[in-house]
Symmetry: C2
Subunit: 150 residues, 2 copies
């Protein structure tokens, strides 16, 4: 694979497509595991946040996952419908909606406990390469999130 000394329009040379394809492939790898929990991948991400800290607002969830209310509101309603969480307006500020896990939502944590190990086996990267790839991706995302004039 040639280095991108002259940035080209060739699909296989592009970082963006490698990223796009790998991300979808990763989601596809999670799919059968999450199906057992009746969760989609974005729903799983929401549950990861709530398992770390319950009682967050939609805004806080959105900040953590970089998703807006147009995505989160219907997703959270589906999780509410599934009995995993409750949504209620905050008394201190009626604009905010607080998300709290139900017993059922908390219990799902146990059933999800094996997923990271399953994935680690499937991904089969050394710790060094795993950490390096993850941190390069975080660095890239941070770079792209920064204002244009930096």
């Amino acid at each position: 694979m040639n280095p991108p000394t002259a940035p080209s329009l060739l699909l296989d040379e592009q970082l963006c497509f490698a990223l796009y394809a790998a991300s979808r492939r990763m989601t596809a790898t999670y799919r059968p595991l999450l199906e057992a929990l009746d969760l989609t991948y974005p729903q799983y991400l929401v549950m990861l946040v709530l398992w770390e800290r319950d009682g967050v607002t939609v805004r806080e969830l959105g900040a953590r996952l970089q998703l807006d209310s147009g995505t989160l509101t219907p997703l959270l309603k589906r999780l509410e419908q599934a009995g995993l969480l409750a949504r209620q307006r905050r008394q201190s500020d009626e604009r905010e909606v607080e998300i709290t896990l139900t017993d059922s939502g908390r219990k799902l944590h146990e059933r999800a406990a094996d997923i990271p190990r399953c994935l680690a086996e499937r991904i089969c990267l050394s710790v060094d390469r795993f950490v390096n790839l993850r941190d390069e991706l975080k660095s890239l995302a941070a770079q792209l999130a920064a204002p244009t004039d930096d």
Copy 2:
């Protein structure tokens, strides 16, 4: 950031979320550039393939981009509507639909020529890190695409 010696359910330790977030951020970075061409990011990927080789079938496009007809058919119809390509059944095999660029579609290539350079400036990675990250992502996707029992 701790190495994943014991795979956990912590969002910030997960490769999958770093991948998911970086991919969406990358698409968001393309968005304003592609808006000038009246293309979405997946439409741009289709055009990249067609600029490399015109006259491919939906199946070949799908193989290249790892997308199925449920995604491609409506997307291609929109690009046809926009006057960038034509869709016609192959005479040699009526099951296949051949996609050919119109003059307008070919002309768009010139207007897209600057996009890789714009992105390269925005991403601001050394050639080594760019190539390494891209190839690690390709390797990961290939690993995840392989049958489970490998």
